[in-house]
Amino acid sequence: MGEAVHPANTAIPHDHAEEVELYHPHSWWTRYVFSQDAKVIGVQYSLTAIGIGLVALVLSWLMRLQLGFPGTFDFIDPPAYYQFITMHGMIMVVYLLTALFLGGFGNYLIPLMLGARDMVFPYVNMLSYWVYVLAVLVLVASFFAPGGPTGAGWTLYPPQAILSGTPGGQDWGIILMLLSLALFIIGFTMGGLNYVVTVLQARTRGMTLMRMPLTIWGIFTATVMALLAFPALFVGAVMMLLDRLLGTSFFMPSLVEMGQQLKYGGGSPILFQHLFWFFGHPEVYIVALPAFGIVSDLIATHARRNIFGYRMMVWAIVAIGALSFVVWAHHMYVSGMNPYFGFFFATTTLIIAIPTAIKVYNWLLTLWRGDIHLNVPMLFALGFIVTFVNGGLTGLFLGNVVVDVPLSDTMFVVAHFHMVMGVAPIMVIYGGIYHWYPKITGRMLDETMGKIHFWVTFLGAYLIFFPMHYLGLLGVPRRYHDIGQAAFVPDSAHTLNAFISVVALVVGAAQMLFLFNLAWSLRRGRQAGPNPWGATTLEWQTPETPPGHGNFGPELPVVHRWAYDYSVPGAARDFIPQNEPDPAGRAA
C-alpha cells in the first residue's frame, strides 16, 4: 500500500501556514494578459511556444523539400538552407521544448499538483513569461534583419558563427540570436527559481517529497539542472557577443579568412564547445526528465495501476540529473579535444543508460498486469516508449566513443537526436495536452481527431527517422545543403531522402488537425467534469473546473497518501485521490 512504501512519512504536520493574499485580477488585461496566476502563465507559455514551434515546423518542411528534391526549389540556396536548419534546431530545443515543459506544464501543474494556491513569487512569474516573449520577438526579428538569421547551425560554433562565410555572421543574425538566448535565460531563471522554491516551500500539508507525483519530480529536477546549466550558455553567448562586437578573442585564435589576416589572436574555439555542451547535454535531460515524469503519470492513470517502483523512479530521475553534468564531452569525441577524455566520457555516458533503462522497465512493469485504457493520452505514452527506447539505444552507439567516430556528424546523429529528444518528448507533450486539456478548459478534446493525429504523427515520425539512421551508416554527412555526387552514396539513398521528405510533409500537416482540435473542442468538446480520467492527483480534485484563481476552495487539500493508489484491493473505486483520508481511520 501507499503507507508500506513510505512508512516514515505518514504523519501530517498540524501547524497551518498562514495564507498569503493573492493578487486578484481587476480587469480583462490583468486576468488574461498580465496575469499573475500560474495557470494563465502556463497557458500563455504553451501557446507562445506552440506558435513559435509552428515556425520551426515550416522551416523543417523547407529543409526537407531541399533534401528530398535538391535543385528543385531555387529560393532554398545554401545560405537559406543553413538559416533554416539553424533556426529550426534552436527553436525546437530552447524556445519550444524547454519553454513548453518548464514554463507551460511547470507553471500549470506545480501549484495544482502540490496543493498550493499559486507560485510563491507570482509577479516574478509573470515577468518570466514576458521576458520569454521578448526573447521570442528578438529571435523572430532576426528573420527580418539585414542578412537574415544566423546560419551557424544551432550549436553556433565559433569561429564560423561570427565570420562572413556564414549567413548572419557579419550581419545582425548572430547578434540577435545571442541576445535572444541571453534574454531567454534571464526569463527562464526568474521562472525556474520560482518553480524550485514553490516545490520546496509551498507543498500542502501531507505532501511529502516522496508523495509528489513523478511529473513534479521530473519538472523539479529539470529546473534545478537548468538553473545550473543555462549560465554556461549565458556566459558563452556574452563572450561571443564581445568577440563579435568589441573584437575580444575569447573564442578566436589568429586566423586567415579568405586570404585576410584577422585581428583576433589567442582565443580557443573549443572553449565555446565545452561551455555550449556543459549546457547542451543537461539540456537534453531538461527536456527528457519532465517527459519522463509526465509519461509516468499518464501510464499509471490510464493503465489504472500504481506506478511500479516509485522510489526507484525518483532516484533514477535524480541520478540521471546528476550524471548528466559529467557526460557533456561525448558531443566532442571528434572535436579535437584531448582524446584521452574519451575514456572518461564514454564510461559516464554508458553508465547513464542504467538509470534510464530502469525507468523504461518500470513503465513496462506498470503496464504489465494493468487495466490498459487505450485512449489518446495512453496511445501517445506508448508512442513515447517506442521512440524513446529506439532513440536511447542508438545513443549507445554514439556514446561509445570509438563507435561514434565513423557516425559522428552523419545523418545517424540527426536521426538519433530527433528520435530521442524530438519525437519522444513531443509524444509526451501531446499526451499531456490530451490529458490535461479537460482540466484547463473543462472540455474533452475530440477523440477521433486525436487518434488520427496520433497514428499519423507516430507512424510517420518513425518512418522518417528510423531509415534515416541508415543514411548515416552509409556515411552521408549531416548539414549538407546537397550531398551531390559521391561514390559511396547510391541512387537509392536519394530515393530514401525523397520518401522521408514526403512523409515529413504529411506528418507536419497532421499537426494542423491537432490545432484545429484544440480550437474546435474549446466550444464544442464534450463537457469533462472535474475528473474525467479518474485520476488521483490533486489537480483533479479542485472544487471548480477549470480551477479558479487560488486553485482550491477556502481550505487547501490535505494529502493522506501517495499519488498512485490505483486499483487498491478492497477499495470501492479503482482510484483513491491523494486527499482522501484512510477509511479505516489508521493514522494516515
Binding site: 545554401p78 543553413y82 564560423q160 562565410g165 555572421g169 585564435p253 589568429s254 586566423l255 586567415v256 579568412e257 579568405m258 574555439p269 573549443i270 495501476r305 500504481n306 522510489r311 526507484m312 579535437g336 584521452y340 574519451g342 564514454a346 564510461t347 542504467i354 530502469i358 523504461v360 518500470n362 503496464l367 498486469r369 494493468g370 487495466d371 490498459i372 487505450l374 516508449i385 517506442v386 527506447v389 549507445l396 552507439f397 561509445n400 566513443v401 570509438v402 567516430v405 565513423p406 556528424d409 507512424l459 518513425y462 531509415p467 541508415y470 543514411l471 556515411g475 548539414r479 549538407y480 545543403h481 546537397d482 559521391a486 559511396f488 547510391p490 498512485y564 490505483y566 486499483s567 479503482d574
Partner: protein, 264 residues
C-alpha cells in the same frame, strides 16, 4: 488488439528493415575494422533489447487491455525483479563499453613508425603537406600565411624546407604504411572525413589535432568536410589516392618542395 499488432510490426519490421536495407557502410579501406566489429556488437545488443522491450510492450497491450471486469494488480515494488533487471542492463552496457574502450585505446595510441603528414582546411578547400627526405614536417604559423606561403610554413625552420606542399591535387599515400594525420585549419572548424577510413577528427584553427590509420587497399577515396564551415561546406571535397609504394614514389618526385615554391 490492433494497437498491439502495430507495435509488434514495428519491432519486427525494424529488424527486417535492418537486414534487407540496401544502405550499409562502404567497404573499409583502413585498419579500423575493429570499429566495425564494435558497431556490429552494439547492433546485436541494442537490437535484442529493442525487440524485447517493444515485443513485451505489445504483449502487455494485448493481454492487459481494458475489458469489462479487468482489474489492475496492485504491487508498488518488487525489489528482486528491479535488482535483476538492473544487473542485466549493467552487463549489457559493460559488454559494449569494454570492447569500445579497448579499441579506443588503439585509436589514441599512434604507432611509433607512423609517418606524419598534414591536412590543412580552409573555406572551402583542402591542402596537404608531406615530409621531405628528413621525414619531418617543419613548424608553421597561421600568421605567416601569404600568397607565396599558403600553409604558413616557417621559412626559418630547416625541417620545413623539403616539405612537399600539395594544393589542387589529391592526397597521395602509400598503401600499408601507418600515417599520423596532423590536422590544421586556418579559418574555421573543418573535419577531414573519408568514409572508407572510418576515422575522422575536427581541425581547429589555433591547434593541431590528429588521428592515425593505415590504408589497407589502393584506390581513390573521396574526402568530405564533416564539420559545418559556412555556406560552402558541402562543396568542400577532396580525394585521397592510396597507391603502391612505387606509384607513390613516382608521384612524389613530381611534387614541389616548400623551398622550391618559395624560390619562385
Amino acid at each position: 488488439m490492433a494497437v498491439a499488432l502495430i507495435l509488434l510490426v514495428i519491432a519486427l519490421g525494424s529488424v527486417v528493415f535492418h537486414w534487407l536495407s540496401p544502405w550499409w557502410w562502404t567497404p573499409i579501406a583502413s585498419n579500423w575494422h575493429y570499429i566495425d566489429t564494435t558497431l556490429i556488437i552494439t547492433f546485436w545488443i541494442t537490437g535484442i533489447a529493442f525487440v524485447a522491450v517493444v515485443g513485451f510492450l505489445a504483449w502487455c497491450v494485448y493481454r492487459y487491455r481494458h475489458r469489462p471486469g479487468q482489474k489492475a494488480h496492485y504491487e508498488p515494488e518488487n525489489k528482486r525483479l528491479e535488482l535483476w533487471l538492473t544487473a542485466a542492463t549493467a552487463l549489457g552496457v559493460a559488454a559494449m563499453l569494454a570492447p569500445g574502450l579497448f579499441v579506443w585505446s588503439q585509436f589514441v595510441t599512434v604507432p611509433r613508425d607512423a609517418t606524419e603528414i598534414e591536412v590543412v582546411g580552409r573555406q572551402w578547400q583542402w591542402s596537404y603537406r608531406l615530409p621531405g627526405k628528413d621525414g619531418r614536417l617543419g613548424t608553421s604559423d597561421v600568421r605567416l600565411i601569404s600568397d607565396g606561403n599558403p600553409l604558413g610554413l616557417n621559412p626559418d625552420d630547416p625541417a620545413g624546407h623539403d616539405d612537399v606542399v600539395v594544393e589542387n591535387d589529391d592526397l597521395h599515400l602509400p598503401v600499408g604504411r601507418p600515417v599520423k594525420v596532423l590536422l590544421r585549419a586556418v579559418d574555421v572548424l573543418h573535419d577531414f572525413y573519408v568514409p572508407e577510413f572510418r576515422a575522422k577528427m575536427d581541425m581547429i584553427p589555433g591547434s593541431v589535432t590528429y588521428f592515425w590509420f593505415t590504408p589497407i587497399r589502393t584506390g581513390r577515396f573521396e574526402a568530405l568536410c564533416a564539420e559545418l564551415c559556412g555556406t560552402g561546406h558541402p562543396m568542400m571535397r577532396g580525394g585521397v589516392q592510396v597507391q603502391t609504394e612505387a606509384e607513390y614514389q613516382a608521384w612524389l618526385q613530381g611534387q614541389q618542395t616548400f623551398a622550391q615554391l618559395a624560390a619562385r
